[in-house]
Symmetry: C2
Subunit: 132 residues, 2 copies
DNA sequence: CAATTACAGAGTTAATATATCTATAATATC
DNA sequence: GATATTATAGATATATTAACTCTGTAATTG
C-alpha cells in the first residue's frame, strides 16, 4: 500500500500554485517540466483538482492553472482525496455477525492520519522550500 | 491506495488464533474455510507471520498454526508490517534543495496512524465478536 | 485565421495483487 | 516403517491498478 505518484505530482503542483500568482495562470508545460513528468499526464491529474474546485484552468494562449480558493483553505487531505478518492483504506467484506471489530480499529487509525492531513494546510509550507 | 486483502486475511486469522488454544494448533484448512479463501494461498500469507515470529507452524497430522508469543504482545502494526512491509507510504523521489517538506507532512500523518495501530493489541478485540 | 493551451477518450505498458498448481518436507498414527 | 496429513517452496497464471502515451477536440488570444 503506497500513495500514488500522481498524488505526489498533485501536491507539488499545488504548492507551486500557492506560491504563484492567483491572477496569471501557470502553464502545465512549466509545471510538468519542473517535476520531470509529461505535460499531458500532469494535465490529466490536474483536471481532477479542477473538478474538485481547488484550482481553475484557463484555455488558450497564456492559459494554465491557478488557485480558485484562498490558499489558506486548502488542506493536504483535500488534495489527496481528489486524487486517491475518498474510499476507506481498509474494507472488510466478510459477513460478520456484528460489525467487524478489526475494521473499526483500522478506521480509527485511518482517521488519525486524516486528521493530521486535514489540519495541515498548503499555506503552512508555502515559501518554505525551493520547489522541486 | 488500499490495504491488501492479504492483510485482512492475516488480521482475521490472528484474531482466531488469539482466541484458540496456544497448545493445539489450528489447521490452515479450517482457517481458510471460515474466510472463504483457498488454503494454499492463506498458508502463503501465514508463512510471513511465522517468519516474523508471531506464530509458529506445526507440520504433520493435527498440525497447523498457533501463537508463539503471549497474545498481549501482538499489535495491529506488527501484523500489518509483516504483510505489507515497513516502507513509507509516501516517497518523494524528486531532488529538492532541502528535504521535501511535503514528505515531512506525509510522514507525520503516517506516524499518527501507526501509533494507533501500535497501541491496539489483538487482545483488545479477542472474544469480542463472532469471528468471520 | 493561426497559434497556443487545456480537455477527453482510447489505448499501452509495467507493476502489483491475488491467487493456483505441483512437488517436497515434516510429523503423527497405525 | 508405511501411510495419511499437514505445512512450505517455487513456478506460473490471471486480474487489477498505476503510470503513462497518443490523438483529436474545444477554447482563447492576438
Amino acid at each position: 500500500m503506497r500513495f500514488s505518484k500522481a498524488t505526489n505530482y498533485a501536491l507539488h503542483t499545488m504548492l507551486m500554485l500557492v506560491d504563484a500568482s492567483t491572477v496569471k495562470p501557470v502553464g502545465v508545460q512549466q509545471l510538468a517540466e519542473s517535476q520531470g513528468v509529461s505535460p499531458t499526464y500532469l494535465s490529466k491529474i490536474l483536471t481532477r483538482l479542477v473538478k474538485a474546485g481547488m484550482i481553475e484552468s484557463v484555455s488558450g494562449v497564456n492559459g494554465g492553472y491557478r488557485l480558485s480558493r484562498t490558499k489558506d483553505d486548502i488542506t493536504f487531505l483535500d488534495i489527496i482525496h481528489a486524487i486517491e478518492g475518498t474510499a476507506s483504506l481498509f474494507e472488510c467484506d466478510f459477513v460478520h455477525g456484528t460489525e467487524c471489530s478489526i475494521q473499526a480499529v483500522m478506521k480509527e487509525a485511518e482517521e488519525k492520519m486524516e486528521r493530521h492531513l486535514q489540519q495541515t494546510k498548503l499555506a503552512d509550507l508555502a515559501q518554505k522550500q525551493t520547489q522541486v
